[in-house]
Symmetry: C2
DNA sequence: CCATACGGATCGTTCAACAATCTCACAAGA
DNA sequence: TCTTGTGAGATTGTTGAACGATCCGTATGG
């Protein structure tokens, strides 16, 4: 019945041109604009305006909005439009509650997996180098990446995907902070200590250091957010 | 500028009618049909057909599809349509990997929270009563609910929401099993033991029992799924 | 037997229109 | 002054038709 499959040699097409719908491209564009702070939290996205700006139809804009809404990057209010999400203090607390639960699982995994520990070391080195040349964007990326790797070490695609959303939400919170450029700089040292303790096989130490990192960061973000809500009301 | 706020006494409106778009209602309809097995895994959902069946426009159907696709209840293949998702063995393994990581966190929370333990006891009682009268649907609901409550005890909205998706995916897997009616019956006893151990404050025992439950369930589902894939390759 | 070309079916996207709902300013009333 | 309608204008929600793009199965040719 089933003949031996030819197993085409051509496996990795270098760059399959545009394997994504217009709506997905539009969503990606908006996603980037939001991440870059060009569309600050609270901004209203009018269908007509976006439609014109991206030269796509209003229907396609709506599909893009659905995608972003499910990522919780924007909020969709029926008949009232979509707004770039503004994360509140409660949201931040939720984020750190989640991280305090999730990341210890990553610590556990890292203790059993040298490759993960190596990957963490790389992130620390990258962050250090970036700080050296005062590239704060890169510092932030490396800091976040450190924790992304840690959670991914659990080996659960669901948890990894969910954590990605958590980090996206956290990035939104960072946008609200006045000094979000060098926000991460103080935390490089914390990451380095965690990595070192993991290397030494010190579970309790690593967990304690992680806890300290998260508590500090939460305080930091909360402090900056409550004093600068998008608009007093 | 900002006068003392009156703080209206009217806080809890009993039930604001039904604020949901047509697309969301359509999604809900399809969601239910899928959960009930009326749209078995692998079924192709043609836009035109759904549009006609629900008497809504094709554009609105597409919005509904986007919603379901993000819940991973359906798969959207560009230019090829949407299909009711077929979960594979790997997906099932992913689900149980996730549960083995997540649910111990719930055990920990339950040990510190009597209300959670009570809620778990209620689920066990409900499942037992349902089994008594051979209402296997109710047994399944109570079984799943037991674990939902356990995870919700963590107090993380992100984790709770994510686990909801995991359970939805698991329900899809159940649909593929030949005997999914009384599937849960063997596990009532396991839940009862977990609840009892929690009541006794036996952390290690509860964790071991949970682990045993998950390992058994995974074997069970995997065994039933591999022998009945939607269509042989 | 394999490759290619064709045609129908379905999806992706656009457009224009209308209905439903919200927002806001303004007027009426307590 | 504060609250409560009221209406116009703006924006969203939904529809239906249209057309190009893409996929799939079949027929055709080597």
């Amino acid at each position: 019945m089933v003949a031996a499959e030819p197993v085409d040699a051509v496996m990795a097409l270098p760059a399959l041109p545009k394997r994504s719908s217009t709506a997905e491209q539009a969503a990606e564009t908006l996603r980037r604009q939001i991440a870059d702070g060009k569309l600050p939290p609270g901004t209203k996205l009018r269908e007509e305006a976006v439609s014109a700006a991206l030269s796509i139809s209003r229907n396609t804009v709506r599909e893009a909005f659905r995608l972003l809404a499910h990522e919780r990057l924007v909020e969709h209010a029926l008949h009232r439009g979509v707004y770039v999400r503004t994360v509140a203090a409660d949201d931040v607390r939720d984020i750190y509650t989640t991280r305090r639960l999730l990341q210890p699982l990553g610590i556990e995994a890292a203790l059993h997996d040298g490759a993960v520990r190596d990957a963490l070391d790389v992130r620390v080195a990258t962050a250090t180098a970036a700080a050296e040349r005062e590239d704060w964007d890169a510092v932030g990326t490396a800091d976040i990446d450190f924790h992304r790797v840690l959670v991914a070490a659990c080996g659960s695609t669901h948890i990894t995907a969910m954590f990605e959303h958590v980090l996206a939400e956290l990035r939104l919170a960072f946008l609200l902070m006045p000094d979000h450029r060098n926000l991460h700089q103080p935390y490089i040292e914390g990451n380095r200590r965690i990595a070192a303790l993991l290397g030494a096989g010190d579970r309790a130490g690593a967990l304690a250091e992680l806890r300290s990192y998260l508590d500090d960061a939460e305080r930091h973000v909360l402090g900056a957010i409550v004093e600068a809500p998008s608009e007093a009301g």
